[in-house]
């Protein structure tokens, strides 16, 4: 079911206030320079996040968006004054932020599809390095993001690669939608497109098992590419790159450290990280996108290509340890060459099980 009016009001207020807060993070950074115990991030963690939790844990009585905005900001302001002291420069900065937020209208029924389109655009740009623009992977129909209420915040997609329209759903938990959640929205959508929607058929969609390639390895790639677009090749829509990068790192670390998850997902991430340290960013990206754009049954008799890929990478890296630096260089040159030649996927898999490197 879509979001009810009250939760929609909360989402609208959060997005409006967080956008203004984001605009003032630099100023908060300056204001907390002299204080080693506080930074712009600790202000968010200690003052903004608790206000979010308190404000979002009860549904509002009225749908007066400006009044709700004032209430939310007052909670944050009160916390900053209490914790940093009324004479702190951070209070002045926040007051400016508050004024800016209250002076501008809160947009009702905030549109998250702009972030969805951005995520799609970023992913498409990555895949167009190896796929044509009209590739079925990249022209898959995807519905505008659905927003549903939930007690646990997450973004999930249903790819429907066999037929029909894919769906992305943003599960909104009103007491968990922090500044980090808001700032990470482009990344969430980017990851969904890069790892699930623009990929080939990596798996039977109903298969409940963990997926080290999709959720581990490709998440690493998404993080790497996203940070690249933030910090090295900035995208104009990704304003405030440093906090965006920082909160993306936070999200990734929390995902990898989640002890409730099966070990395969962090294993896939760690493997991609180790692979990159050996082959470098460029070969990691090219290899990953090639494998991600190939269906799971590309090779006859091998039903789960992506499981096999991660296994072969690990075995290849284990064998590589015994090679001399010169031999490693030669191997990397071969890898770079085969990725540009014909049948790169077949050659890649042959490369990963080079018989001359298998210890007898």
């Amino acid at each position: 079911m879509p979001l009810d009016y009250k939760r929609q009001a909360l989402l609208d207020v959060f997005c409006h206030c967080y956008e203004k807060l984001l605009d003032h993070l630099d100023a908060l950074h300056d204001a907390t320079q002299a204080d080693h115990e506080w930074s712009e991030y600790t202000v968010v963690k200690e003052c903004v996040n608790p206000a979010t939790k308190a404000f979002g844990s009860r549904l509002p009585e009225s749908l007066d968006l400006p009044a709700l905005c004032v209430d939310f900001l007052a909670r944050i302001g009160g916390s900053i004054v209490t914790q940093l002291g009324s004479s702190s420069p951070a209070v002045e900065v926040f007051t400016e932020c508050q004024a800016a937020a209250e002076a501008s209208p809160v947009v009702p029924e905030v549109d998250l599809t702009c972030w969805q389109r951005l995520g799609e655009e970023l992913s498409r740009e990555c895949y167009q390095a190896i796929l044509p623009a009209d590739s079925p992977n990249l022209t898959r129909a995807v519905k505008p993001v659905l927003i549903k209420p939930s007690d646990k915040q997450k973004v999930r997609c249903v790819p429907r690669k066999a037929a029909g329209e894919s769906e992305i759903t943003f599960y909104f938990a009103s007491d968990q939608f922090t500044l980090q959640s808001y700032v990470n929205l482009p990344f969430y959508f980017f990851h969904e497109y890069l790892s699930h929607l623009h990929t080939a058929r990596l798996f039977a969609e109903s298969d409940p098992c963990p997926k080290p390639f999709e959720e581990g390895w490709l998440l690493y790639l998404a993080h790497d590419l996203y940070c690249h677009r933030l910090l090295e090749d900035p995208h104009p829509a990704l304003t405030h790159p440093l906090p965006r990068a920082h909160y993306a790192h936070q999200y990734i670390q929390a995902e990898q450290d989640d002890a409730t998850k099966e070990p395969w997902v962090p294993w896939g991430w760690t493997l991609a990280d180790a692979f990159e340290r050996i082959v470098g960013k460029d070969l990691l990206r090219r290899t990953s996108l090639l494998v991600a754009s190939s269906p799971c049954d590309h090779f006859p008799g091998l039903p789960n290509l992506h499981w096999d890929f991660v296994k072969r990478v690990q075995q290849w890296m284990t064998r590589l340890v015994t090679r001399s630096p010169r031999e490693k260089e030669v191997l990397l040159e071969r890898l770079a060459a085969l990725l540009q030649g014909p049948d790169p996927l077949d050659k890649l898999f042959d490369f990963l099980i080079e018989r001359e490197f298998i210890n007898t």
Partner: protein, 478 residues
């Protein structure tokens, strides 16, 4: 305050994600104090793992900040020295591996190969798929593949392999290779006991006992094939059946036994009527549904799906189970309470119109469990009819009435009614509705139960508000 080693690990772990960072960012990532993080970073600088970023290395955004304030927070990065970088990452990974090792006991198999193999094994065990050679070999290959992958994560690998041994044992039992199944179970039991997973170890032992019983069962079935008079062998079978901890393991051997004996009706009569261990009759669901599963299996193998086998089977079963003086109003209330609490039955409006003094003036001599099952079948049919047709008003009316020397229980629904052509077939042949599952013999089962206790059951379908009525009539206990 976090201990020193823990703080160091947290900071190093955060660095592996941030790559370029300020102390403030690591503070936010680790929940440590600024002083702790600063100390770890400075130590890493001294050890050569981390270095400060030069001004020209800061990205434009940060350079702008530097110019604005004049005293920016420093930013750092990992060293470019590949040896030092590998040392750094190896150190972090070693601690992460130790953490995973501490959770190793919780690890379970989770590759798609294991999941698929288990689906196949379970489908064969419960009789949904035949135990063909191709299917068993495919499951075996999947388990081999899965073991190969599970070994890639060393932490907890022994425990995961023990789960594979359990699965492999079940597969070998399906192949009839019981000695190997026993060996695998022993391996699994030892691994679980070493890890302190007593519940899993016990499961291995239970499976081992089941396989031994199954092996005995199959040997007896083979003897039955060879003998003209199966009676002694069938008696031996009866003794074996008591060893089975779960009816699901019995289904496949039962099919084999029924095939071996040849006359499905006689075999099923023998096996099913003398089968139920008394310990299961305490739990209604264990009493009723596994019996029905076995009866369905036997009936599917029966050469003629006429009414006689149904009647005979249930007759024997019903008489086998203890009969008692049953209070009908109490029975009705218990039945509805059980059924209507489950989704989607919650959307049905129940109306009870029970004769108030009925329980105090009349009882019925029957097995309470079986009578309740018959009533459940009628209630389920009524509710399903209303839900399938999405009737605007979903009202279920149950009435009880003493009429002379009989008790009448009426179940009425506001569904669409039963078409005339279907009405004619009721109680004569299975009425199969794919959306409901099953093999369409529910009403016939209910009738057989009721007739066993001297009663009758009839169905009336009208065009009024309450479209279909099913009425059970039972003689009052004298």
């Amino acid at each position: 305050m976090a201990i020193w080693g823990e703080a160091s690990y947290k900071v190093k772990r955060a660095i592996t994600f941030h790559k370029r960072f300020s102390v403030a960012e690591l503070v936010d990532a680790t929940d440590l104090s600024y002083v702790q993080v600063e100390q770890v970073v400075q130590r890493l600088i001294k050890q050569g793992y981390v270095r400060p970023l030069e001004a020209h290395e800061l990205n434009p955004a940060k350079q702008a900040v530097a110019q604005r304030v004049g005293r920016p927070r420093k930013r750092y990065t990992l060293t470019e020295d590949p040896v030092k970088r590998e040392e750094f990452h190896a150190g972090v990974e070693a601690i992460a591996s130790a953490e995973r090792l501490s959770r190793a006991k919780e690890r379970k198999p989770s590759t798609p190969y294991f999941n698929r193999a288990m689906q196949m094994i379970e489908a064969i065990e419960r009789g949904a798929d035949p135990p063909s050679t191709a299917r068993l070999e495919e499951a075996a290959a999947l388990l081999v593949y899965g073991r190969d992958f599970e070994g890639l994560i060393p932490e907890g690998a022994e425990i995961v392999q023990a789960y594979y041994d359990l699965a492999q044992a079940r597969l070998e039992a399906l192949r009839g290779n019981y000695p190997q199944a026993e060996e695998l179970l022993a391996q699994a039991e030892e691994a679980f006991q070493t890890a302190g997973l007593d519940e899993q170890a016990q499961r291995s032992i239970d499976l081992s006992l089941t396989f031994r019983a199954t092996q005995g069962f199959v040997e007896v079935v083979n003897r039955i094939r060879q003998q003209a008079d199966p009676t002694p062998a069938l008696e031996a079978l009866r003794g074996l059946i008591y060893d089975f901890p779960s009816p699901s393991y019995l289904l496949l051997p039962l099919q084999q036994a029924v095939e071996a004996i040849g006359t499905a009706f006689e075999a099923s009569l023998w096996l099913v009527t003398r089968w139920m261990p008394r310990r299961w009759s305490e739990d209604l669901s264990a009493c009723i549904y596994p019996k029905e599963n076995l009866i369905q299996t036997a009936l599917e193998l029966a050469p003629e799906k006429t009414r006689l086998p149904y009647l005979a089977l249930y007759h024997c079963l019903c008489h086998e189970d203890a009969v008692d003086s049953v209070r009908i109003n109490d029975l009705v209330k218990t039945c509805l309470e059980r059924r209507l609490k489950h989704a989607p039955y919650q959307f049905v409006r129940p109306c009870l119109d029970l004769q108030e003094d009925l329980d105090s003036i009349a009882t019925v001599r029957a097995s309470r469990d079986w009578l309740q099952r018959a009533l459940e079948i009628l209630v389920d049919n009524a509710i399903q009819a209303m839900l399938e047709a999405d009737s605007p008003e979903k009202r279920l009316t149950v009435t009880t009435q003493l009429a002379g020397k009989v008790v009448k229980i009426s179940v009425k629904d506001t569904g669409p009614g039963i078409p005339r052509d279907v009405l004619k077939k009721l109680f004569k042949e299975p009425i199969y509705r794919p959306v409901r599952g099953g093999i369409g013999i529910g009403l016939t089962l209910a009738q057989t139960i009721v007739e066993t206790y001297g009663g009758d059951i009839r169905v009336e379908s009208t065009t009024g508000d309450e479209r279909t009525s099913t009425i059970i009539v039972l003689p009052v206990e004298s």
